[in-house]
Amino acid sequence: MLLTAKSVSVPGVRLQTVTARIGEDAGGGLHLQLHAGQADVAAMGWRRLGLTLDGALQNERTGWVFDGNVRVGGAPGSALGNAHVTMLVSELANTLQVDIQQGNAQASVALPLDQPSHAQISLKNLPAGWLQGLLSTVWSGRPTSGRLDAELALDVRDTGIQSTGQFTLDGAGFDTPTGTLAGQGMNGNGRFNIDTTDGPAQVDLDAILHGGELLLGPLYARLPDHPVQLGLHANAQRDAFELSRLRINDADALQFDGALAFDAKGALKTLKVDHFQASFPAAYQRYGNAWLDTLGLRNVSIDGQLSGSLDLRADGMHSFAFDTNGLDMADADGRVAISGLRGGLDWAAEGERPATKLLWRSLQFYRIPNGAAQSHWQSRAGTLSLQQPLEVPLFKGQLRVSQLDWRPAAAKGQRLATSLVLTGVDMAAFSHAMGWPAFPGTLGGAIPALRWVDDRFELQGGLSASLFGGFVDITRLSLQQPFGPSPVLNGDIHLQQLDLGAITSVFDFGSITGRMNGSIDDLRLVNWSPVAFKASLLADSGGRISQRAVNNLTTIGGGGVASGLQGVVLKWFKTFGYKRIGLDCTLRGAVCQMGGLDTGADGYTIVEGSGLPHLHVIGHQTQVDWPTLIRRLRAAIEGTAPVVR
């Protein structure tokens, strides 16, 4: 008997160009062959698949039994490519029972005959890839690996599906087209509830996971082998993805209660954390590492506990708070280190927040260690203010922050208002920390205001150091990306009445007496080394320059002059008198444009001598290679002769 039909529809399933052949087989039973050119199973996301059923049909006491094979061509994950299927239609019990087995994957479906849109499904060892079609109906993501056991109820409606049940995952993975949300090797079990009938898919999930990796935008988690509780409520609408409830409980590392949303590009759109508690270093190793890496903070060593909350929306930060009872942190590059941090901050864009206290045992920026300090804070109407002046010990002196207002949500350029006073900083200790020769002196100054625009801090006012019996004034200071890979420092330096004798003794370069004035304008340090400045140094009150200074210059040059008549003449004198010394250097790129007291066609005068023997130093080269100059100067100071090529 051959039956053909153009189209056969039951709820959830639609078959087209169907041919069914029923004949008697050798054993006296019936043999059924059914082929559908196009089978659509909307709930599974299967469209236009070839379907072939081939097997024996028997009428038993319980009802009709079909025992045979099913072959579905082109289903995602090769689902039902060639499976053994048993179907039992029992009018008495009002059920259709389908058992499918392919390899060690098993699926059983039971549905009432009078309501075939409702099914009870049991899955065992089902390849996760089989569900790709099902997932694609609600989300652009797809399962990539793993196996699944589940017991669930499924209702297929015209507008979508509803399903609820429990599941066990074994090595499951998933991925999205943008690759920003993904998981791999995850094991776990839990309960779920999916509803796609009312607009975007709603997913409720409560699970216990152990092992595997999970990528959620910039957040990457390496799940531990012990159980981690995960609870979430997700809205998925094609590419956009929102977790309106997310709860993570990893007992010894992280507790997190919040919500987050990603836009269609997989970028983090909002992040709300109501309650956050982290224990380091475990939390850093498992959850924070990748995110801090993208911020340029690599290999952070962090130890202690931190709890807090955060409300970050598309239009900016709305509130944050944190509290710790002991935290130590240092980044691998030595840019910043905090130890013994205790207390917290509490800020909100609106209203008043409780006052907080934040204190630390030590705080280090680059090579500058700051001592223990205590600060008091309170947030009012979006401004987080220092309640009492903050005093930080710094190189035997003190940095006093008399006022500080931070408005995290304000317009650029108005986020920070502060005034700082620096007193009695010991230059010897400071220069030692910087790895310079020890300058005796003290540094102080006032920064009455500071402007913060983008990544740049502009300091008004200035610093003044009393150094070498004179003064060094630093003004127009600005600092860009202080913790970036290329921090930029700009400023103007003015030198007044510096004692050359003291300077040359520190640098061990021979001795020059007298006083020096000068300026270094438009100084630009990138990564703490100068790339541009306009320096002009002048000693015009007269003095003496030692033979050793001259000798030192000689050795720098490779000893080319110490021989011969001139060398002999030089050795007769311990010092030479001079009237004026002047040197200009304008650095641009790697080239210094040199100048001196007066510039003639033949060169520029650097030292104008007085008395006998009359020393007159004239420079001839106006364009000087800066790295080479520095290398030789450094060698001269350190007392090792460079190799002259």
Partner: protein, 202 residues
């Protein structure tokens, strides 16, 4: 008479326009050359690693008759070989440090990401992840960090070159010049973004 008025007016107009156009001058050809040199250096296939100012200066002892101290100073301060430097500077200690880091990245993680097509050159002189799915999950977070590092260095490079030339306002032009340079010098198989923002394979 009327002709004469026309001529005078036209001349005036030309002069006026002339005055305006002189104001802004970006040495495009020089910038392109400098950018190509830098990029070639980073990608390691230009074979011309020594731009003008970097030559090791030879210290030539001065002739007899010059004062000894002047000779000393000449020895101390070698002349820079700046004669054939283009009129845009690209080499400072900062750009050199950035170049070093970029070079390392291109020989390592970033090169692999570009080869695989996971990352491409954007039309604004940066790099971006174009297909994260090409990277195994465990390396994806690292790839994001590498891209972020590279972009931080690129942003610093463009602003540093503009600053080194005493024209911070040139930054957008320098960025555009570099953007073109990166794409021109991209190896076959690498992806880049065309001006419309679509990814293309070289």
């Amino acid at each position: 008479m009327r002709k004469l008025v026309h001529v005078v007016l036209t001349t005036l107009a030309v002069l006026l326009v002339g005055c305006v156009t002189i104001n802004v001058y970006f040495p495009e050809a020089a910038a392109e050359k400098a950018a190509d040199q830098f990029i070639g250096n980073v990608l390691g296939d230009a074979g011309q690693p020594a731009p003008a100012a970097k030559k090791d200066p030879k210290t030539t002892p001065s002739s007899a008759g010059q004062q000894p101290s002047a000779m000393l100073l000449d020895l101390l301060i070698p002349a820079a070989n700046a004669a054939d430097t283009p009129n845009i500077r690209i080499q400072t200690s900062t750009t050199e440090a950035i170049r070093g880091r970029m070079q390392q990245r291109f020989q390592g993680a970033l090169g692999t990401l570009l080869d695989s097509g996971a990352v491409g050159f954007t039309s604004d002189g940066m790099v971006a992840v174009r297909d994260a799915a090409k990277v195994p999950l465990s390396e994806r977070a690292q790839a994001n960090a590498t891209v972020a590092d590279e972009n931080r260095d690129r942003a610093a490079l463009y602003s540093e070159v503009a600053n080194a030339n005493n024209h911070p306002e040139w930054e957008p032009q320098i960025r555009a010049t570099f953007a073109k340079g990166w794409i021109d010098k991209a190896r076959a198989g690498w992806y880049y973004q065309n001006s419309a923002g679509a990814w293309q394979r070289k």
